[in-house]
Amino acid sequence: MIELRDIKKTYITGEFEFQALNGINLSIKPNDYIALMGSSGSGKSTLMNIIGALDVPTSGEYLLRSKPIHELDDNQISEFRNEEIGFVFQTFNLLPKLSALDNVALPLLYANNIEKEQRTKQAKEMMELVGLGDKLTNKPNELSGGQRQRVAIARALVNKPSLILADEPTGNLDSKTSASIMELFANLHNNGQTIILVTHEKEISEYAKKTIVLKDGIIIE
């Protein structure tokens, strides 16, 4: 489904060049559940940003179902993110002034031509899927950390994306809550969802079916 070919990313700050990714080749198949590991500075965040199309590689090819993503313009990339990628962040990144339901419906707002009733209906379904059917109108600050992350996961799922990108989804949660969140991911995977999990915790990575370890911008295992 996703093909990365010789992806390189170089950051230039002043006179210094930093090679964050140094030739990544990676193939992600439908219903893969991959843990992306590596220490800080290994390039795992950069790789995740490139897969999520938040960042563009300096060189290399990124194909989604044979479609070259690296050739798209900014508007097309925005659409791509909207339709194909669901992000889950360590800090949840919910909009504090919106209700949980509106947060979940947010990606649908930027999708083309979805009526408000339809948006609400889809968002409600996702809230029920993550077990928060009774918290629709709550604001994020009225929810616990685990509940907030569930809202974020519902938001990532609402557009039925090809790929869920979860960047340290349990980083801000206690171990018990972490386990329940990881269970939720496992369920999603069992229902056919493709997931990439970025983590530096060994035990979290064990939930995934496959582990990729990065070091100094290359895949070492």
């Binding site: 938040l54 508007n75 925005s78 659409e79 339709e83 990144n93 947010l106 707002l109 930027y110």
Partner: protein, 430 residues
């Protein structure tokens, strides 16, 4: 567009207090523009009404006298004897009537401060002697009764017209027509009442226009021969008067209305020459062209209004900068939100539109509040300062457009900044 409008609207609602503070600059700016324009329009309207009152094509020769005795420095070369002038007299009137071309109507005028007495009531008033053309010159309409004619004047008939106010004061309940009033030792029969007239200000009176409402109009020959004639000195005249001396001229004014072909300026010059010769070069008269004066005043007013408007507009610009400032701060504060919106699929144009709409809504809201403020201010000025104001629809429309434009223009920079944020950095921003 619609969804971005919704987003923008929601985010303003989320920060109501800040939005209101942000909008204050626009509120005061628009309020100032509207009220300034209303005051300017009011002043203009007033001048237009006054132009109607002073009549078209009028030239007024007014007698001038020294209000206080003693030497004024403008009196001429020291040691030079003051030449004799008889002052403004009926002879001047006859002469002017003879030599001036294109006269439509002409009337002499003299007035005395006195008391008017009806059977039971005594009121301070001014009795004014004029010829019958006077009413045509100033388009004076009657509420009741008839004008007097030249036949009344020539026969020195004891008749009068009352101003509407003095008429009500003297005859609060009854119809004054046919009744007799006493002015000094003169009994006058009321034959007409002048229609109430508003808008005669002090300014107009300086130009030689009377406040018709409180005056008693009498044929001038009746007045001069039966009441008092300053042209004839009497032994009984009080010479010991220490107060302001009375106008020593026989006449107060000569009011001339020219035909459509007449030129007020050249007539003014001609009259100046005629009067200079007749008065031996003594400047005891002045020649006024009220229409001209008012038009000049209107031009000055116009300029002044534009200036006021311009100053008020500056406050709009300041208001706009205020919006830009807050929007820039808000972009910085919401950088994470912007990153997230981009991550879930918002295009740059969506973000840009959201922020521009936000700024526009704020300034539009400010504009509407400003319009309300401006209208209230205009009414306040009219009520408390007694200055005429006139709110034009145009100024409201203009303020509306300007406030929206202000939002768009000053919202553009922050919106652009928001749209150009790198999503990766935005999401990492703490």
């Amino acid at each position: 567009m619609l969804k971005n409008a919704q987003i923008a609207f929601d985010s303003i609602l989320a920060n109501k207090f800040r939005a209101i503070l942000t909008t204050l600059g626009i509120v005061f700016g628009v309020g100032a523009v509207i009220s300034m324009l209303a005051i300017g329009n009011g002043a203009q309207q007033q001048i237009l009404e006054q132009l109607k009152i002073v009549g078209v094509n009028n030239v007024i020769v007014k007698s001038v006298y020294e209000a206080k005795k003693g030497k004024s420095e403008e009196e001429g070369e020291p040691g030079q004897a003051k030449k004799f002038s008889p002052g403004l007299t009926l002879k001047d009137f006859t002469n002017i009537e003879k030599v001036t071309p294109e006269i439509e109507h002409i009337s002499p005028e003299v007035g005395y401060e006195t008391f008017a007495v009806s059977s039971t009531i005594r009121k301070k008033s001014k009795v004014i002697g004029v010829s019958s053309s006077y009413f045509k010159i100033f388009n004076i309409d009657l509420e009741n009764g008839n004008y007097f004619y030249e036949s009344h004047n020539d026969a020195r008939k004891k008749v009068c017209l009352l101003g509407s106010k003095i008429s009500k004061l003297l005859f609060p309940k009854s119809n004054p027509i046919g009744k007799t009033i006493r002015v000094g030792n003169l009994n006058l029969t009321v034959i007409g009442v002048i229609k109430k007239l508003s808008g005669v200000t002090e300014n107009l009176q300086d130009m030689g226009i009377n406040d018709y409402n409180n005056e008693v109009y009498v044929p001038i020959k009746t007045l001069l021969s039966r009441f008092k004639d300053r042209g004839r000195a009497k032994v009984s005249d009080d010479w010991s008067n220490d107060g302001d001396p009375e106008n020593p001229n026989q006449l107060d004014k000569i009011v001339i209305q020219l035909t459509d072909k007449g030129d007020m300026l050249s007539t003014g010059t001609l009259l100046n020459k005629v009067m200079e010769r007749r008065h031996n070069g003594v400047k005891d008269y002045s020649i006024n062209i009220p229409e001209q004066t008012l038009k000049q005043q209107k031009e000055t007013d116009d300029l002044f209004n534009w200036l006021l408007g311009a100053i008020a507009s500056i406050s709009l610009v300041v208001g706009g900068i205020g919006i830009m400032n807050i929007m820039l701060a808000s972009v910085q504060e919401r950088i994470k939100e912007i990153g997230l919106r981009r991550a879930v699929g918002a295009k740059k144009s969506d973000i840009k539109l959201q922020f521009i709409l936000e700024a526009s809504f704020i300034s539009l809201f400010g504009g509407i509040l400003g319009i309300i403020l401006g209208i209230s201010l205009s009414y306040a000025v009219e009520i408390f300062l007694e200055m005429p104001t006139k709110i034009s629809l145009f100024s409201i429309f203009l303020s509306f457009i300007i406030s929206v434009l202000t939002g768009i223009i000053f919202g553009y920079l922050p919106a652009n900044k928001a749209a150009e944020q790198n999503p990766v950095n935005s999401l990492k921003y703490e």
